[in-house]
Every structure is written in C-alpha cells, then in structure tokens.
Symmetry: D5
Subunit: 147 residues, 10 copies
C-alpha cells in the first residue's frame, strides 16, 4: 500500500530528474508554493482535485493522488530540530514566544493564533546589505471562551 | 545586584498599576513594540539610551537602565513549550520547518534565515470570518560558504 | 505583585476553611464548575466581572480579581503526568489518540477538534455495578485549509 | 507469524480499496465505532467472535481473527504526541488534568476514573457557528481503599 | 496553609524524637503498616477517623488530620528512580513486566491488575542462607470490555 | 547466528499453533511458570538442561538450547512503560517505592531487596467482589556494609 | 529537623576551617577513606558508633550522629554527569560496560557484581610518565538463580 | 563495506562454534582479555599486527583486520543502561562519583583520571562467603592547567 | 534515488581501497581539508564544480556530484555525543560556553559568532611534552539589532 | 560557608560598579583572559596565588581566595544550551564533530584532543566584510593505548 513517504520520494525523483522548482510544482497543483511543498513532504493533505492534477502532471501512479489527499499523521522526529535552517525558527519561538503571547493576548484578549486556519508565504527579498528572507504568517485569532 | 528578572517584575508592576499597553511602553523607549516587549521580558538588550528613556518614563531605579542594556542569557525553560499560544508557534515550526528549509534553500542556495539580524511585527487584522493575527518576520539570508 | 499561584493558594484556604465545594465556588462566579475550577487553578482566565464577583464572595483582596482575569501562562510540569487520576486521562489519549484522529478526520475531513473553542463537564453517575465518571467534551471542528 | 501491525495494514488496504468507513467496519464486527477502530489499530482486543465476523466480511486470512483477539502490547511511540489532532487531546489533559482530579475526587472521594472499564464515543455535531466534535467518555469510578 | 509535605516532616520529627517504628505508628492509626507509611509520606489519603486518631496520638496540630485525609497529588520526581533500594523494584518491573503481562492476561483475558483496588505487605523473613524480603501484592483484576 | 529474539519468535509460533499455556511450557522445561516465561521472552537464562528439554519438547532447532542458556542483555525499551498492564506495576513502584524503602530499611537496616537472588509467582484468585491478581516476590536482603 | 545535606555542609565547614584531609576524617570515624567520604557526602550510612566518634571529633551537634547513621535516599541529579572528573567514570561504564558483562558472566555464569556488598579504594601512584590514579573495586558475585 | 558490527558478529559466531573463551581469543591477539574483548565488541581499535594475528587465528576474512584496527565511533545506546550487570556499574558511578572526585582532587589537585590513557582488569576471586569480582582500573592523572 | 548517506559510503569505500587521506581527497575537490571532509560526511554542500571534480577523481557515478552539491539536512543523532573524541568538544562548550559568551559580547556588544559564515582548520603540532591538536575557528560577528 | 556562586556574584558586582573589563580582571589575577573568566564563573580553579592577588585587587573577603582555588564541580544545566551565542558553539560540535574526529584520528591515530591539558583564546578581528571572532584551541593529543 502506497504511503505518504513513498509519494515524497517519487516527487523528489521527478523534481531532480526534470529540474523542477517548487514554484513550478505548485503551479501544476494549482496551489500556493508553501502549501504544495508541505503537502508533498507529507505534512498537509491536498484537495483531491489538486492532487490528481499534480499526479498527472508529474506522471506519478494514480494511487499517489489518493495518498496526497489523505490526512497525514504529522510526526516531528526531533523535539529540538538540529538542522541549522530549521533550528533558527525554533530559536525564534524560544526567544520571542513569550513576547508574541503578550502581544497577541493584549490585542485580542485570552486566545491564540490558529496553526490550522493558517497560511504562510516565504520570499527572498534583495537588499543592499545582504538579501533578506521574509516570512508572512496569518492565522485566525481564536479566543478562549468561558462557559 | 539587580537582575533582568527583577526589571521584568518592575515593568509588570508599573504596567498593571498604570494600565499601560506594550505599545505605549515601546513608545516610551523609542523602539518597536515587539523588540521592546522582548527586551522587557529579558530576551533582548536595549541600546543604553532607549533603556534610560524607558527607565525614566516608568520611574524605575537608574540601575534598571544598565540591566536592560546588558546582553541577556536566553534560557528557554521548556524545550517543548506547553502554553497553547506558544505551542502553536512551535507546531508551525514542526509542520512547516522542512518546507521552509526547502524553499529558503531553493531560493538562496545552501544557507539560513538569520535569527540575529532579524526583526518581526505582529498585528491583529479584522476579518469578517474572524479576526486574524499576522506575523511578519524578516531575517538576513546567510549563505554557507565553502573554503 | 500578586501572581496566579497566590490566588490559587488563597482560594484553597477559603475552600478548606469554609468547607466549600467547587460547585458552590462556581455558583459564586456565575460560571460552570469545570471552567471555574480551571481558572482558580491558574489554567484559564475568567471574564473580569465573574472574577470580581468571586473575589467579593470569597472575601479576597481586590487585586485577585485582576489576576484571575489575566491570561495565564499554562505550564504542565510533567510531560507524562504521574498522578494516577491524571495519568489515566493521559493513557486514554495514548490508547485512543490514533482512533480519535481516524474518526474525527473521517467525519470532517482533515482537521482537528479545538482545545480553545472548547467546553467540558464531568459528572459522577450512579450505577449498580459501580458508579461511573462521565466526561463530555465539545470542541469546534477546525478544518485545515489549502491555499 | 502474523502480528497486530500486519492486520492493521490489511484492514487499511481493504478500507482504501473498497472505500469503507469505520462505521461500516464496526457494523461488520458487531461492535461500536470507537472500539472497532481501536482494535483494528492494534490498541484493543476484540472478542474472538466479533474478530472472526470482521475477518470473514473483509476477506482477510483466518489467522487475522486470532491476532485481533489477542491482548495487544500498547506502545505510545511519542510521550508528547506531535500530530496536531492528537496533541490537542494531550493539551486538554495538561490544561484540565488538575481540574478533573479536583472534581472527580470531590464527587467520589480519593479515587480515579478507570481507563479499563471504559467506553467512549465521538460525534460530529452540526452547529451554525461551525460544527463541533463531541466526545463522551464513561469510566468506572474506582475508589482507593485503605487497609 | 498546611500541606502534605509539612505533615510528613512533622511525622518524621516525632518518629525520630520518640524512636517510633512505622508498625507502631500504623497501630496508632488503626491501619496496616504499608498503607499508613504511604499516607504519612503523602502518597495515600487516610480515612478521616484514622487520620484524627494518628494526629492525636502523635500530638500534631488538628489541621494535620484534615491534610492526611485529603487526596494527594502523587508526583514521582524521577521517572527512573536512582536510590538502589527503589531501583531494584523498578528493575523487576523492567525485567518481569512483559512476563507478568503474559501471565495475567493468559489467566484472565485482556485486562490488568489494579493499582487502585490494591493492597500490599512487606516482611523480612529469616533464612539460613541470608534473610529474605517478601512482598505480597493483591490487586483486583480489571478486564477490558468491548462495547 | 540465532539470537534470543529469534527463539522468542519460535516459541510464540509453537505456542499459538499448539494452543499451549505458559504453565504447560514451564512444565516442559521443568521450571516455574514465571521464570520459564521470562527466559522465553529473553529476560533470563535457563540452565542448559532445562533449555534442552524445552527445545526438544517444542521441536525447536538444537541451537535454540544454546541460546536460551546464554546470559541475556536485558534492555527495557521504554523507561516509562506505556502498556497499561505494565504501567500499573510501574505506578506501584512510584507510589509505594519510598514506603517500601522505609519499611525494608527499618526491618533490616540500610540495605536492599535483591532483584537477582529473587523469585516471584503470580496467581489469579477468585473473589466475590471481583477476582484478584496476587503477586508474591521474595528477594534476599542485602545489607550495605561499611569498611 | 537536621538532614543529611546539613551534615555535609557542617563537615565541609570544619574541613575547610581546620584544613583536614578526608584521610584524617576517616581516621576519626575509624573507617576507610572512600566509605567515610561517601557517608559524609550523604551517599552511605555509617554505623552509629563510628558516626558518634566522628561527630565528637569534629565537634558537631549530637543529632548529626543520628543523621549520619540513617539510610540515605540516594539521588543522582544528573543521569549523565557533566563534571569532567565524574564523566570519565561514566564514559568508562559506557565504553567497557558490555566488555565487563561478557567477562563477568563468562567467569561466573549469568549474574552480576554487587554494588551493595561492595568496597573500593582509590590511590594516586607515582609514575615517571605521569602519576596514575588506581581504583580497586570488589563486589560479591551474585548469580541469577532459576526456580 | 565491512563494518565493526559485522566483525563483532563474526567473532561471536566463531566463539560459539568453537567454544572459545575471551581469554583464549585475547591470547590469539596477543593482548589483554579486557582490551581484546572491548576491541571485538567495537569499542576499541587494535594495533594492526594484533588484529591480523587474531583474524588469521579465527579464520576471518582479511578485511576484518583492517576494520579491527580502525578507530571506532563509540556509541552508547542507552544513557542509563538497563542491563542489571551494567547498571550496577552505572550505580557505582552515581553513588561514589562525588566521593571519587573529592579524593582524586585532594590527592592530585584539580584534575581527572584519564579514560584514554587507561587500563583495566577483571577477576573472579574465590571467597568463602561468596566469590567476588575484582576490578582494577588505572588511568593517568591529568591535572588542569591554568594559563 | 541516491542519498547523501550513499555518497558517504562510496567515498569511504574508495578511501579504504586506495588508502587515500582526507587531505588528498580535499585536493581532488579543490577545497580545504575540513570543509571537504564535512561535505563528504553529509554535513555541508560543495559547490557543484568542486563536487564534479571530486566525483571524477574518485570514479563515482555522476549523480554523486548532484548529491554532494545539494543542501544537506543536518541531523545530530545524539544531543549529548558519546564518542570520547567528540564528547571532549561538547565538554569544552559546556565548560567554556558562558566564558566565551562573556568575552564575545564584551568585545562586540550583544551578538554571536556565526556558525554559517564560518571556517575552521585542525592541525597536529609536534610538542616535546606530547603533540597537540590545534583548532582555529573563525566566524563572522553578528550583532543583534534593535528596531 | 562561601560558595563558588557567591564569589561569581561578588566579581560581577565589582565589575559593574567599577566598569572593569575581563581583560583588566585577568591582569589583576596574572592569568589569561579566557582562563580568568572561566575561573570567576566557577568553571575552573585558580592557583591560590593568583586567586589571592585577584581577591586583594577587587577588595573581596579573603575567603574568596580559598574558594577560587578549590576544584569546582562543573555542572552544565542544559544538555542543549538555548542561549544563541552558546548554541552556535554546540551546533559547530554537532556539524563538525564527526569531521574533527576523522581528521584528528587520521593525523594521530586512535585518540582524542584533551579538554583538560587545554587552552584557548578568543579575539575579535576587524574585517571589511564584517568583523570576525577567532577562537584558537590547543589541547594535548592523547592516544588510546592497547594493553
């Protein structure tokens, strides 16, 4: 039975063989770059239509469309990530987590920013003093409710 | 000897007593809301001038200015944060970390987004289907170099 | 500066001295039994009005009302709880977690049950073969969205 | 020798191939939806009769009936689950665990809710403001006894 | 407010001062040696009557009786105990745990030995080749039930 | 080269195929039920004679006798066991560990109960209010010595 | 109530004030250097006589003799010790542990070296190529027994 | 490519087949028993000459000599070893670690016993009250130096 | 699809077969010894040109050049390394980490030494009292900035 | 009794009050900057002479000299350091640890770089593209020896 990890492997193979960018793969799927990448890496589920379009465009077996559309089980193997590129994001949560909590809750009352009703983009922006990476995240504010 | 934690306590006391917002405190310091909050919580160091202005505005003892300007030792007590508001940020790193690594490195080559030459803002944006929290992060792209 | 833990201590003192039940304390606050208990234990924030009513009814210092209404930082000291009464709940998550994920996502598509827009009750129900504890939980279904 | 994990794999294959719901599989087994799912995922043992009925209905090898009826060894790989759908349940235990302990023990004296003499259901309930997931749990109250 | 730990401290003081054995303290409480010790160490709750008898016999403040009768929060500070006397018990669980599971479930079907409806005794038994410690444990068999 | 895990697998196969109980297997080996089970699960070494008798009775390859007689490397994969049947034993060590230490050392002076010069039995005992599991453990008392 | 840690503190104070070596303190107690040190650090219990002699010689309060003679609760705060001097011992267990197991069990059959019926000495031995530390450990061989 | 683990497996096979003791294997290698065992288990590297002699004597493929002579990567899978024979050594470090630090540093000043310039032997010594295991360790004293 | 680990294996095979040093391999790649080694071990990415030169010189399949040039995912399996050669480096960070932080930040203000814009060399330097290993590290100073 | 932590606190107080640099404090002690800082932070012991000179220069109580000269117990509270400045050093060990092991052992045979017979310096070096931090470490090469 084909698993999410099998599909990820197949996508990487096509990507290396055809020299595709994630932006191009996202275009095939008809979804954003971040979301498409995360679904191909097994961390999100694509709507079935988009999955089938992507599978057709990449020439993958049809079952891959079913698999891309199934809810994944999201496992993070490392509770503290060691890869430097990912660790920096973890460090930002560590350094700025209490700050963001103060500000989100001052602005909205007791509540959180949803990680489910959520979207994100990432861009590289040219800059004289050295290019910058810009992340934009938008998540629904969910207030706690008393009862 | 006054420590960062003592200053944080003093700021919270003034904040509760005078009903100040972090935006107002940031204005007193002449710095952004996120940075000021993080420095008051002991996770960043303010330039001495801004620290002194803030200390004067809040009526804190002068030594507090020295303390706010010293480099902090950044300790995250919990490697997996339990507070739901902070956990959601951790979850985003878990779910989207490999995705961001793929995209940052596809756009810039092998490298990372700096968490040091870095800035961030947080806003609450009204929305019919429920207000949203928007985070914007900008960090310098640092390429690995071979030698 | 009064902290959540100080208020918890004060409530326990009044409760032991006056022989109050949590149901009675909840009635003073005008909120449900589960929510009131969790707020008194520092794991939720009461609306200011309810907090003030409770503080008045228990004869606590006024500042306690402010504190009960502030968003708490929710720390779980033990990632695996050792108290047998709480461990059984943890065990239920371990044993039935994958099952609930299968069923929630079969019924609603990829998504989760919110722990924020959430409420719960607990009852002891008489039963010939031995009384039973009944927990009812209701959380909003939050679908992941693709973008 | 066939193992629980082999049977789980077989059930998933049949389920994907025939488009079966867990409710339908439960009906084949003659047991509830939650219990059947948990047994198919290797976290409970079915009575031999129900196991055999299910095996026949799904067209699995007979040995699968023996396996489904054997007591499982319940391993939770992650002491803190990372999948967001399961993590929310863990968070509920973290946030409300001390509350439930207070209330269960106030209502019944020193004791616990059994996770063994236990049953549970899960429903998705339509709601104008967004559908809700409702969990009902019922566990026998077990009092500690002194001796 | 007097806590379990305070009462434990008081009992140890009386015990050292008066040279009392745990057997003698158990007699004062009218309960068994193991149960009484565990309650004095804050790991069980005594019935109020027994608690009051013990408090009177030891000359402790009356509030200690209330405290001994309250359900304790059972925290084990070390998930792997380091004290050699306690570690050996942990090692027995590690070495014989899977064996006991096989035998309990072969004898009773899928189920467990309760740690709540449970009692235990400990004796030192003279033996020519070296005295022996004998532990006897008796816990109710709780069968899993399908539903 | 045949390993302990291979022999465990072979014993389970014979046991399932022939519907053997552990009591019956123990009889074949000429040893007690608990010890035989633990040796078949790779957590103890049988005397070579008993191992050979068992291997002959079960029709296993001769090398299995050598393997059953070799000292095992005892690995507990989980420092906190998650299986509910084994967890309850762990919980007993957590809840009663300090109590047993107090009583063993009060009775024998500073020392421990050996987990090496040790034996154990397990029985299911009928009881009107619900059958009970009875464990008896006997370990040599080993006094610390000063030098 | 005086605790082991209080006595350790008192011994260190006398030791620093009077410039005593552990060898000298051991002589006062009438016991070996290693054992005396370990008992003063709270990791062993002295016979009452030796404890009283030591307490008299050091001019400590009499209660200290009672405390030195009580069985300690042996807590190792760090499961992997960080102090380099202690870490090297830990590393030796890591590197040579499996080797020692092979050799002890080849020489004696399945069993262990006792850490209870145990003694040790430590010497610094002059050597031209650099002085050496020599540890000698002697522990009773405890064979596993089948039953 | 042959790895250390492959060579360990080969040595065990020859050892079981020919009934060799480690002492005999050490003789073949022309090195001590402890060192030879540790090198065969992949925790040390033999000088190439000794490795080749051993490989010839055991009839292993020549590449095994290369492998035995390569520096190993020493991985201890368990930071707290569970095997009782190895755990006792770990416990000795836990119980006596601070004692050994006190004595080594009192005798030599601030410094450590090397685990690199190190040797060890293990003997079983007959004794009327029960045979004993004797470990002798000798490591170079390495003083810290100031600069 | 060829992975980093496959290339590492291939390089080790060529290295053992041809008796190559890392210095020689670095020369083939046209890069420094440390950087080349780290890239061959999968912890850095080589510029494509250097990768292709190395692949040609070693006679590896062309795909290996693609793989060597891809950004690696840097996983450290052990958060505390056990190999003694690597542990000593970890220990240096533990012992001198706070010192380096003090000095780096005293010299440069609040900031860090980059591990990305970074290079390092390692030499063995003859010395009468025993040869020495000399590590030189150079990393860009990155100041925190306020905003 | 004055402890290492007390002396550290005193040094920081004098340092803040008098605006001293670590270089100046090192000069007072007559030792290098890195070593002096590490000793003042409680991670090394100064020779008594240097300690007394420093204590006199800073006007600390005489007992501080005794304390600075005592061997410290080196505890690293966090096995993975969270402070970004220290984490980068940890990351370097993670990323380059296997590389350094390869190169040290290729150059010197099986062995390690000592962290005891060790010294280090840190400089900030001006550079047009951004100043750099340069660390130089020198540790004695310690070869493993066979026996």
């Amino acid at each position: 039975m084909m698993k999410k990890a099998d599909v990820t492997e197949l996508v990487y193979e096509r990507k290396r063989a055809a020299g595709l960018s994630w932006a191009k793969i996202a275009e095939m799927a008809g979804l954003s770059e971040v979301f498409t990448t995360s679904a191909c890496l097994g961390m999100n589920s694509m709507p079935r239509d988009n999955a089938d379009r992507l599978v057709a465009a990449l020439g993958l077996p049809q079952e891959a469309g079913v698999v891309l559309a199934e809810p994944p089980t999201k496992i993070f193997d490392q509770s503290v990530p060691t890869d430097p590129c990912i660790y920096r994001l973890y460090e930002i949560v560590g350094v700025y987590g209490t700050t963001l909590k103060e500000l989100i809750q001052e602005k909205g009352g007791d509540g959180i920013m949803s990680a489910i009703d959520f979207e994100m983009s990432v861009e590289k922006v040219p800059n004289e003093k050295g290019d910058r990476i810009e992340l934009k995240m938008s998540g629904k504010f969910l207030p706690y409710r008393s009862w």
